[in-house]
Homo-oligomer: 332 residues x 2
DNA sequence: CCAGGCAAAGCAATCGTTTGCCATATATCA
DNA sequence: TGATATATGGCAAACGATTGCTTTGCCTGG
């Protein structure tokens, strides 16, 4: 299944076969020979060896080659691979890349080693989610076409497409405050997450009390959201809660539905991400939309432009987020 | 960033550098030289060119090589890429492969062309979801290590891991019948889907009337499920409905929640797949569990075994499915 | 003092594809 | 007819990594 075999079959040389199969030159073989070559190729079901192809073609620095090979790096697999936000984001990227006729390779990494991967020879890299400076430096050394998609602002020296988690949280908390809530809880990651910072800032800016018994540090799964909300329900003054992401909120909503405690309590729930699932929960989830699709498109566009036209100064595109009002928040 | 460059830096030959970096032979260089080589490699942040590596290593037919490269083919992108069943299935595969230290490449294809992909040189292929005989033949010609994961039995001549959609539907409908339902609707694909066949068979076997006004042929999105259920609600005798997959059911449940029609109707909803989202809907969805995780593991195990120990006869592993009882079905 | 053994390192071929350049053969024109 | 284009196709050198074989030098035992 190599060019040489085809060449032997029809009695010519590999070079001619290559040129015919790639349509490289109009006049490289007679019509008769061309036909025989195509026939032979079909007969043995020829597929070019991509390794050989890339090896040879890699030298050529012309960015006009038809098929770009992109790499998407997902660091911190443990926490990010299961997050529907990144799953949906990646799906948008993948479909878009597919439709453009390019190829992608997704690289998972937990310990940030990149051995065995193709990042050295690809045309561009997209990094998903916060990652270490160390990893980023490694990536920077292997390509000049590097775009990050973050949910937190990261002052790295690469092109970035961001949607600021601090602002998203601000939007959500402000929305709750406008709806008359004074005692607003928080469920989610409290260590690095800019969303937590946004929550904090907005509470303080509005001179509301910061009650640490209303703040439940937790992971980002449905289960954890469920448990956290059950704990939070012990606080009788709290009327609303911001969940750091939708998954947590799905669990929280379930806890509320199953709540059998005293009295009739209507707790408002808001969160951030607006993944697809938020359209069918009960009640439908009010959440802050992070424009994954737009972000994916923009990242790809920047990368494509970089590859074709080289580098200008560092680019930073920030997307605004917006509240999607559904049924999980009430006025008090 | 090539072996040659490192060799030049330290004043030796590429062969020696290769052997040192790969630890090929213990005695291939003096300690002093080794150190210098490692230092140089770190300095220029050397990463081996995978294309060159694969090209060279490809010849070696020994299956003992440490790092297997697998390919997962997802045909019919349009309909399958957005299906959470396949997303979750792929995630299990991906994580498992990642943890084993192998590499994967996911190939999307709509028109079934495989040009530009690496299927010719990989160690094994997994096919996700029903695909054409034509595509399968192409794949078969490029590797002997080929496993399909189907939701329908497909009598192809390759190893397959299946969970029979007909039986799943049978299970679901029987469950409804046991709960006293006589007029059971169906929402979903009616053209090829074995699930529809199962629905039909079970209705007939139980001598229930087959009412085509209760059967809504539709796609597989939440939206379509929502619309279909709204149409179905016009039929006043129907008390239960089987949705061909969970997504449809999510939309259907929402339609029920928002139903403002006459009287108090409790429609039972059951579906097939048991994707993660089914754990947080309202009401929690009763559904037939398709063991994606087990199927993924099994497929990988078969493939691994094939690669290491060659071929015996064709393997076919069928996984049983089971009802996961939650809150969306009622007794009449 | 010499044969044999081993450590240290290089040579060169190879994987499959592409492509610049060269060599024919045939056609065209002055 | 001789000179010049043009069609047709092959040669061989890359791309980067790996590895069998060779070479060189040094040490040791007889």
């Amino acid at each position: 299944m190599s060019l040489k075999k085809i060449a032997e079959m029809v009695g010519t040389s590999p070079s001619t076969v290559s040129r015919v199969l790639n349509n490289s030159y109009a006049t490289c073989a007679s019509e008769q020979l061309k036909e025989k070559i195509w026939a032979a190729a079909h007969e043995i079901n020829y597929l070019p060896n991509q390794s050989a192809r890339k090896l040879k073609l890699g030298e050529r620095e012309d960015a006009q080659k038809k098929t770009l090979h992109l790499v998407v790096v997902l660091a911190r697999v443990e926490s990010l691979a299961g997050d529907p936000f990144f799953q949906e984001l990646y799906r948008y990227l993948e479909i878009d890349i597919f439709q453009k006729g390019f190829t992608v390779e997704k690289i998972l990494t937990a310990d940030e080693t990149l051995r065995g991967t193709d990042i050295g020879t690809c045309d561009g890299i997209i990094v998903l989610g916060r990652c270490s400076r160390n990893l980023l430096d490694t990536l920077r050394r292997s390509t000049r076409n590097l775009v990050g998609i973050w949910r937190n602002p990261m002052n790295f020296e690469i092109d970035e497409v961001v949607c600021d988690g601090r602002k998203a949280a601000d939007l959500a908390v402000s929305y709750l405050i406008e709806h008359g809530h004074r005692k607003i809880g928080y469920i989610g990651d409290c260590s690095y997450e800019s969303r937590y910072v946004g929550y904090n800032e907005t509470i303080i800016r509005n001179q509301l009390p910061l009650d640490y018994s209303c703040i439940i540090p937790t992971g980002q799964t449905r289960e954890e959201g469920f448990d956290a909300m059950n704990r939070l329900l012990k606080n009788e003054e709290m009327t609303a809660v911001l969940c750091a992401n939708d998954c947590i909120a799905f669990g929280a909503l379930r806890a509320l539905r199953e709540y059998k405690g005293l009295g009739r309590r209507k707790i408002s729930v808001i969160s951030i991400d607006n993944v697809e699932e938020a359209q069918t929960t009960s009640p439908l989830l009010t959440t802050v939309h992070i424009p994954r699709e737009d972000m994916a498109h923009m990242a790809l566009q920047i990368l494509h432009d970089r590859i074709l036209h080289g580098h200008r100064e560092k680019l930073r595109v920030e997307f605004p987020c917006r509240i999607v009002e559904r049924d999980s928040c009430f006025r008090v």
